[in-house]
Symmetry: C2
DNA sequence: ATTGGTGCAAAGGCTTTGCAGATCG
DNA sequence: CGATCTGCAAAGCCTTTGCACCAAT
């Protein structure tokens, strides 16, 4: 069960860094421009594996398609309810203070902070 | 377009309070015991409407079914990756400190803090 | 009597799976 | 060569939608 390197895999990684919180389909479209034969299934399969390997992040908002994030260092997300874009928020100090006792009982492996609302551009549009 | 009160609707509200972060299907099964004719569609429709009315909360974890929460006051969630249960975490002071400037540009309407990991029971099981 | 709600069945969106063939090491 | 990976098609899961009938106000 040794992992192999494939053209598809490296192109997916490349797209992940190039695109901004893309969905599987957006990555697939991006790569299709170069390698028209790539399958959406392959994109899904590789993304899923990378998430399991903790080499990328899956951002789930609403019930729409999963958005992937190549930035794995701790940070929060802002999600625009109007245009759907995700913006990374630097970690510079969001401090979830959880009640005493709770943290001792459970084991927390992941912390997600998602702010939803309207981004600067959409906020302006809403007013018109 | 005035809203009407139906038996289904009130049973859904009742189940929401009785069950612990249930999915639409769990609510449907619960009600089916009393009213076997209730349709899953009706449950989905009412839940969706309540979420839009901000009378309940939709908690999205993974890509599985949405879990609904009748507690709408600010609080965080803990999600057990092993047994899947959701635990409400009292709001007693989680303070997302977002970088200066960002908050001035965007309009935030919702803040979600989701901690994932292993609950007390599952943590013990894992060790065996 | 209106017209919103319900149940049913079908469709829809996103993701996963089974399988045969291609490919990396 | 052998095991993993790919592409294709099909299935799966959760949720929504269209439509005719039912029922709350």
């Amino acid at each position: 069960m040794t992992k192999r390197n494939t053209i598809q895999k490296s192109l997916i990684v490349e797209s992940l860094h190039k695109l901004d919180h893309p969905t599987a389909e957006e990555i697939w479209q991006d790569i299709s421009a170069k390698i028209p034969s790539i399958s959406l299934t392959t994109v899904y399969r590789n993304l899923k594996q990378m998430v399991e390997d903790n080499s990328i992040l899956a951002v789930t908002v609403d019930k729409g398609a999963i958005k992937y994030d190549s930035e794995i260092h701790p940070h929060a997300h802002f999600y625009c309810l109007s245009c759907g874009k995700i913006v990374d928020i630097p970690p510079s100090g969001f401090v979830p203070k959880i009640p005493e006792g709770f943290l001792e009982e459970v084991e927390i492996t992941k912390t997600e902070l998602l702010l939803s609302g309207y981004c600067a551009e959409c906020k302006i549009k809403e007013k018109n």
